[in-house]
Symmetry: C2
């Protein structure tokens, strides 16, 4: 009886189960940054690269080149759909309509295209490279930037699929029961926390698209107003949620690289130039700064007055208690009321961190959490045979050069420092050397 013959035949014969189903399946900040780049840096050429910071996992052994290429090509073949563009044009983001200019949307529809890329398996005796994938992008910044989230989500989910393919139907069932139980136990800890504010930031390192969607729906159904929305634009669109996110390190990194041909003063000033340009395009809640690219303390110390008028700060590599205290003190020193400002933590958070941070900052500053990989990919200990193949990786995709000039990131956590050694040395001289070997990078 009830056999769906069409579905069975389809399941047996499909050629590709796409990982990225729509160009909106990306973090919202990528779209904001894309418009920013399209407007301010339309001719800049960049390279960027996927890096697996979890070097003990040999990605190339888990993710097949052919499958990776197939998924990448699928994304390259996607176009923004008419209905998606109409939504971007007419929807209210952060309380504001018409954030995207008509000319930009027209360009998105007609001229946007993803850059070329290079895929290879790394052969090396260096344990940081052995068995790793090379996945490198080069071209116009406007054509490269969007790859970041698509590529990370593809690599992450291909790794997931390879691990799932080893499991029987019953084992799969155990796996998901455990992961769901884990997720719901987490949600129960958040359910009754007064005034809590959190969003999903877990697109790039998710277990899978469907699992992220499940997690987002679970949060929406359970947390009410405590759930602010999702960074995933496709999920925001599909489920009428707030799209969350503003900007990322690639802006100050590229602008610093471009400025680095000049004097040390020009290099140092570039980090504030980002803010100036950003506030020409965006206002209000979108004025969230990310001061840790070259060290938060020096950033705040020398920041121009207008930076204190921004809406808030995102903390992504410093101990968030320290960073929040520092921001509160800085705002007070500049005569601003921290209780009117926002502090967003987004670095490897899990539920207990979120609750503790919320309590710590309660009444002092408006705290909110960007809950990432440990929301959308916490399968630790869930594998039915006790294997670690479904544990999340610390995967990133970073700009490596702009107009041929290598980029550098110092970060507040020395484990996240990136760039050629000699350039890192110069940046440290210019910006100071405050990065400390901080917490181990889990995700």
């Amino acid at each position: 009886m009830n056999v769906n013959f069409a579905e069975r035949a389809h399941n047996h014969n499909w050629k590709l189960d796409p990982i990225v189903r729509s160009l909106l399946d990306t973090d919202f900040y990528k779209l904001l940054m894309l418009q920013f780049i399209w407007k301010n840096f339309p001719q800049v050429q960049v390279t960027s690269e996927v890096v697996n910071r979890t070097v003990r996992v040999h990605l190339a052994e888990r993710v097949g080149m052919a499958a990776l290429r197939e998924q990448m090509e699928h994304v390259r073949g996607l176009r923004f759909r008419r209905s998606e563009l109409v939504w971007l044009a007419g929807n209210t983001f952060y309380g504001v309509r018409f954030i995207f200019e008509p000319a930009f949307l027209e360009w998105l529809e007609k001229d946007f295209a993803l850059s070329d890329y290079e895929i290879a398996e790394q052969e090396s005796d260096d344990p940081a490279h052995a068995g790793q994938l090379t996945l490198r992008f080069s071209g116009l910044w406007t054509a490269v930037t969007m790859w970041e989230v698509y590529a990370l989500a593809i690599v992450s989910e291909l790794k997931t699929r390879a691990a799932l393919a080893e499991l029987s139907e019953l084992e799969l069932d155990v796996l998901y029961a455990r992961a769901k139980t884990r997720l719901w136990d987490k949600i129960e800890k958040l359910r009754d926390v007064e005034g809590l504010q959190l969003s999903d930031f877990g697109t790039r390192r998710r277990h899978s698209f469907l699992w992220q969607e499940y997690a987002v729906q679970a949060l929406r159904a359970s947390l009410g107003k405590r759930f602010g929305g999702t960074s995933n634009t496709a999920l925001a669109y599909k489920h009428d949620l707030e799209a969350i996110g503003t900007n990322a390190h690639e802006l100050p990194m590229a602008m610093a690289a471009l400025a680095s041909v000049g004097s040390d003063d020009e290099l140092r000033a570039s980090q504030y130039r980002v803010l100036e340009l950003w506030q020409r395009s965006y206002g209000g809640s979108l004025l969230i700064m990310l001061p840790d690219t070259f060290g938060t303390t020096q950033f705040l110390e020398h920041a121009p007055e207008f930076a204190a008028d921004w809406t808030g700060q995102r903390v992504d590599s410093k101990d968030p208690y320290v960073a929040g205290d520092e921001y509160v003190a800085w705002l007070e020193s500049r005569g601003r009321d921290p209780r009117q400002k926002r502090l967003i933590a987004s670095d490897g958070l899990d539920v207990d961190d979120i609750v503790k941070l919320h309590e710590y900052f309660s009444g002092r500053i408006r705290f909110s959490a960007g809950w990432g990989t440990l929301l959308t990919n916490d399968f630790r200990g869930c594998h039915p045979r006790g294997e670690d193949t479904l544990e999340p990786l610390s995967l990133v995709c970073k700009l490596t050069s702009a107009n041929g000039i290598p980029t550098v990131k110092l970060s507040d956590n020395a484990r996240k420092t990136a760039g050629p050694v000699e350039l890192v040395a110069r940046y440290r001289r210019v910006f100071g050397s405050e990065a400390e070997t901080g917490a181990a990078v889990i995700v």
Copy 2:
């Protein structure tokens, strides 16, 4: 696209989702006992009744009379299917073929019918009855006996369904994720226990038929030879498993009632008369005695010599460590080697009990566990809103009279004693009064 229109329409319109899908959906021992009754007591009239020993739960408020009647009528309309009868006739049970006589199978096919029943809601100020259901059966013993498992499974699953109907789709998903995680955590504790032997005994108080089937498949897939089979005949048939079980209290209870019109000696002797009759029909591994109906110690003390030749004992109300030690000592006192005998514990066991009992008796007697309600209905703490509506009840269905004479059960646990006060007094005089207020009856 892939919408199964037929299935959707069916789901919206079905009249009855049957709980008992086949007459084989019962404990195997009921079929063995049915043949025993058909052969030895074809004219005896009995009454039996469902009792909820978890009196704090007002069953009548959870289980609707109309739905109950509908499910009962559905079972009454069922017939043994030809293929089921062929299987009963030709299959090997406990290593023996042709356990069921052709004449019995012919009777099953042509003349078997379930008795009439009475359903009512109890109105009473007595907390043991207030809000409880009356579900009472009367007629020929051959027509009443099979109701036990069907009725218990129906009441149990109707209660489940009522609780599930309160939950959203997402809450249902949480619930089952938690219950599956619980089940798999239990299985992991059993997986590597050397020489373990256990079977599913959880039909009557299961969460639902499908959940029992899931649990049985999980055990089969994970435990290999450690999983001996299931008491559920339909599942044994469907999944090619061993059907497990031999006999229950209703035999000595009915035979004692029938003997109780005579002398105390005749009453006392009736408990051994069951064994005599049983071994006329069955042999080998089916010779498992259940000595606790009127107290295990007196039973063993006065047991005829042939009882020591039986294959083993099932412990259902006494502390299983004590009962096992007692049985081992008794076997030795009768010159039998306990290591050739089987000890089956089946009273409210959970995974830790099973492992500990297995270790305790290892090398001394062949221990095996009948894992019941805490295998097939352990949803404690799984309810997404923290309610207790899905926790299992201590539901039983017991013979209350035979040929108009009330039945009595003393048991080794005074909480399980049943029968009219004045008759219990006589039985205690005859059999002794060894029942102690034992462990609280969970399930």
